[in-house]
């Protein structure tokens, strides 16, 4: 028997982890002489109090959805892809090249091409570490970290030497043609009168992200490939016994993972900036790791975790804007959330498990006692 009911595993434990992280964060805020209650209020109103706030929260959420799913797919094959940052960077490059190549007539035409380019570039960036892992045993954690740096340097080079329009000082590409502009939430909800989501960057990519969640769920649990990926992730020797090729699965899982991370660029490059700038990914690749950990590599969990981190990002920005709490403290809060939901998961899990076992034993005891009483 499993030690815990499923709801405790997927809901109770993450919530307890979060609670501890928030309480500790509150103590830190207290320690620097600020009011934690006020801080929470600022974060909530800033991130969720208006459609504008929601527009930012959902924009960040979309980024984290893609990178979180990317890490999750690799996790299922027990591959720790921490190269989401680099893959998303390359995805951005792909989007920029696609968007700048033609004067697009309409976003509906541009989107599939840009999405394909983003996914292909991201996948290509994951392919090299994957190949070395599969064939040579070079550890994927090391190689993907290296490829994050190489990716950043490559972007730098491309922006400075290739994509920067003549005469421009800033290392950034030119603006994308108007036909490549994705509808934002403001555009989508324009029929309500035009005041909803005004000025917020959330765009149609959010729905692509949600669709990606379903797609990944279907892939992992309803396809033969997903079955092979999970088998390989559980046990490589067993996969070999079952005739599943470790080389093939390592490469395919990483390609899918890289493609998902690359696809994030549709949101931040095409949907928001509408041009390619330096450091466009802004750490979303790394947040994806925390999102996948917290979401237990399940697309639904990833969605909730991405939403939480979207809230933390937007709420944190508001915090530094409206209070004297320094911006760095937001990073502390995020770090605590990552620490407790990811690294220190067992600290909460073990006592809760013991609790459930004790409760079950007590129930069994009571059941045994009852017939005995009846007999008397």
């Amino acid at each position: 028997m499993d030690t815990m009911p499923r709801w405790a595993d997927v809901a109770l434990i993450p919530l307890l982890n979060l609670l501890i992280a928030f309480v500790l964060s509150g103590l830190v805020i207290l320690a620097i002489g600020e009011n934690p209650i006020e801080a929470v209020e600022t974060m909530i109103t800033g991130a969720l109090g208006s459609t504008y706030g929601w527009g930012y929260t959902l924009y960040y959420t979309t980024n984290f959805l893609f990178t979180g799913l990317a890490v999750s797919v690799a996790f299922h094959a027990r591959l720790f892809n921490i190269g989401g940052e680099g893959q998303a960077t390359l995805g951005g490059l792909g989007v920029a090249l696609a968007c700048l190549s033609v004067n697009w007539p309409h976003w509906l035409v541009a989107l599939p091409v840009a999405l394909t380019a983003a996914a292909l570039f991201g996948a290509a960036w994951a392919l090299i570490p994957a190949y070395f892992q599969a064939k040579r045993g070079s550890h994927i954690v090391i190689t993907t970290i290296m490829f994050n740096f190489i990716g950043a340097a490559l972007l730098n080079y491309m922006l400075v030497n290739v994509l920067k329009p003549a005469g421009q000082m800033e290392p950034a590409s030119g603006n994308f043609p108007p036909g490549a502009s994705l509808p934002t939430f403001q555009d989508i909800f324009a029929f309500t009168g035009g005041t909803l989501f005004r000025g917020a960057p959330a765009n149609i990519t959010f729905f692509i992200g949600v669709a990606a969640c379903f797609l990944v769920w279907w892939l992992i649990w309803h396809t033969r490939l997903g079955y092979a990926i999970r088998s390989f992730g559980q046990s490589e020797p067993a996969a070999v016994y079952a005739g599943i090729s470790p080389v093939k699965i390592t490469v395919i899982a990483m390609l899918i993972s890289g493609a998902l991370a690359g696809a994030m660029a549709i949101n931040n490059v095409m949907g928001e900036a509408e041009r390619l700038v330096l450091n466009s990914v802004e750490g979303a690749g790394f947040i994806g790791i925390a999102v996948a950990l917290m979401g237990r590599s399940h697309p639904f969990g990833v969605f909730l975790a991405a939403l939480l981190f979207g809230f933390l990002y937007q709420g944190g920005a508001e915090l530094s804007l409206w209070t004297s709490i320094p911006r760095e403290l937001v990073i502390v809060v995020q770090a605590l959330v990552i620490l407790f939901t990811g690294a220190l998961d067992n600290m909460v899990r073990m006592p809760v498990e013991r609790m459930f076992i004790a409760a079950r034993l007590a129930r069994a005891e009571a059941k045994r006692a009852k017939p005995a009483e009846a007999a008397e």
């Binding site: 033969r224 046990s235 067993a238 016994y241 079952a242 005739g243 090729s245 079950r360």
Partner: protein
């Protein structure tokens, strides 16, 4: 359900060497030991027998201070003793020889014996003292060993002797041996039993934990039977029989012999010629194996674990690569390259029940139904489209297989790790046998499987044979090989030492072959003495 002479070992002399009173221990919801009481007389060999998971090892771990009992008391030589850790156990005069030796591989025998029992910061005086001590122990107990041999370079029988010497060096009066013969050849086991009798004669008390009835009958004075965490009986060995013990272990009557008709072999199915396999380190594990298996026949491969049987199964099952020639029904099989994998083997009609079902045959965290598709995930019945896998169809198939193979509980949604060893094996067996393969490779079919399930598994294997399929059986259990096989091949050091018919050989002859010796007359008994120190 209990045997006739329960607790007959009582009150012969004043204080028992060990007395346990009401020991209980639970791991989470699992009650590993329930209110166990036992008395062991000094200067006797006391066997504890039970199926895997009956709680024998837990009980001994409590005695050795690895676990703390939830309830109960321990008395050593009549004195109540707390044993919170292994140092306390050693101080109380208890020595333990584990199933898996705890030796430093690149230390010498002497260094291993001294390790943890040094007299001071300087090693030289301790070593010198230990050397003298070992010499006298060797004379006293027939435990001769070269103190300067490196553990790496001596055989398992010798390594076990080192473990015993370690305990004696720490002045153990009570010696616990946990499944000591699992890694030994029959000859090495015989030698071990001689040593144990010698120790007994010197007044030591020995507790022997095993699941092999034969050993209990051969060497013990009294025997306690455990079942599902409870001590079901303690009887004098002389007053019991293997059948009675088996019944006590399982709780019902058990067929110890497999009921089977003589084989009616057909044409050759598997032909292996000069098969060689190297492991990752480049060491040759199979050194030119040739054998054939015919339709409707079980070829049993006997041998001590680690003599190439695993590699043979792996290369035939598409897990390892090799050179040589393997033909299935006359068609050559690839031994390297992309068509030498498990999928290609299955496509050709080879099913494989691997030796290590927990690491190869099953994915422990997968549900039973997911494991039923394992290796056959490409089966059209499971794949309505090239991409989609039909979970509902697999679940339905799993439910059917569970019913036909009496898997308990018959719940396809339960994770493999939550089934007992026997039921896990039934899941693997159902998956492989119901493919109706031309050739079934089966390794250690009943390792870690309770006696009740062993019967069932053996019957299924024989049934498959009777439908005219070829079966290659690998097992380290000689009894299993003897009772199941239609022909027996013995492996030693990557080679087939010889083939015998089960009716025309005995355990002694097979044991000699397993130890790498020809069983020709004049080459028998005297050579036996050197086996322990061999290779």
């Amino acid at each position: 359900m209990t045997g006739g002479g329960q607790n007959t070992g009582r009150a012969e002399t004043a204080a028992p060497a060990i007395e346990l009173k009401g020991i209980s221990k639970a791991f989470g919801p699992v009650q590993a030991n329930k209110n166990i009481s036992i008395r062991v007389q000094p200067g006797s060999i006391h066997g504890i027998i039970g199926e895997n998971g009956a709680g024998k090892s837990t009980l001994m771990s409590i005695l050795y201070g690895f676990y703390k009992a939830d309830a109960g008391e321990i008395f050593i030589k009549g004195r109540k003793t707390e044993i919170p850790n292994s140092e306390a156990a050693i101080a109380a005069g208890i020595g333990m020889v584990f199933q898996h030796f705890k030796l430093v591989q690149n230390f010498t025998v002497l260094e291993n014996v001294v390790l943890g029992a040094e007299d001071g910061a300087l090693l030289r005086p301790s070593l010198a003292k230990a050397r003298d001590e070992l010499r006298s122990l060797a004379d006293e107990y027939e435990l001769r060993i070269d103190p300067d041999a490196v553990i790496d370079e001596i055989g398992v029988g010798m390594q076990q002797r080192v473990e015993i010497l370690k305990a004696l060096y720490r002045e153990a009066e009570i010696l616990i041996l946990d499944e000591p013969t699992g890694v030994l050849t029959p000859a090495e086991a015989d030698h071990l039993f001689r040593i144990l009798r010698g120790l007994k004669d010197q007044g030591k008390t020995i507790i022997l934990i095993t699941h092999k009835l034969r050993e209990i009958m051969e060497v013990t004075d009294t025997v306690s039977v455990m079942r599902r965490g409870e001590m079901t009986a303690t009887v004098k060995t002389a007053e019991t029989s293997p059948e009675q013990l088996a019944e006590l272990m399982v709780g019902r009557k058990v067929l110890l012999r497999v009921d089977k008709k003589p084989a009616t072999p057909g044409g050759t199915v598997l032909e292996v010629e000069n098969l060689k396999v190297r492991d990752h380190a480049g060491v040759e594990r199979l050194k030119g194996v040739s054998l054939t298996v015919r339709a409707g026949e079980i070829l049993g491969i006997a041998g001590v674990a680690g003599n190439g049987q695993s590699e043979l199964l792996q290369v035939l099952g598409g897990i390892a690569h090799g050179t040589g020639s393997v033909r299935l029904n006359g068609t050559e099989l690839d031994l390297t390259g992309r068509f030498s994998d498990g999928r290609s083997r299955r496509a050709k009609g080879i099913a494989h029940v691997p030796e290590d079902r927990q690491h190869l045959g099953l994915i422990m965290d997968f549900a039973a139904w997911e494991n039923v598709a394992f290796g056959y995930q490409g089966d059209p019945a499971y794949n309505p489209t090239p991409w989609r896998i039909d979970n509902a169809a697999i679940r339905a198939d799993c439910a059917g297989k569970m019913e036909r193979f009496d898997v308990r509980p018959p719940n396809p949604l339960l994770a493999a790790k939550n089934f007992s060893g026997g039921n896990q094996q039934k899941i693997v067996l159902a998956r492989e046998i119901e493919r109706n393969p031309e050739l079934l490779l089966i390794g250690q079919p009943t390792r870690g499987v309770d006696i009740g399930a062993i019967e069932f598994i053996h019957q299924r294997i024989v049934q498959l044979r009777d439908t005219g399929k070829a079966i290659l059986l690998v097992s380290v259990e000689l009894d299993e090989i003897m009772s199941l096989s239609d022909r027996i091949a013995v492996m030693f050091d990557g080679r087939i030492m010889g083939e015998r018919l089960p009716g025309e050989t005995d355990e002694r002859e097979l044991g000699l072959l397993m130890a790498g010796m020809d069983s020709a007359p004049g080459n028998g008994r005297p050579a036996l003495e050197t086996v322990g120190g061999g290779h």
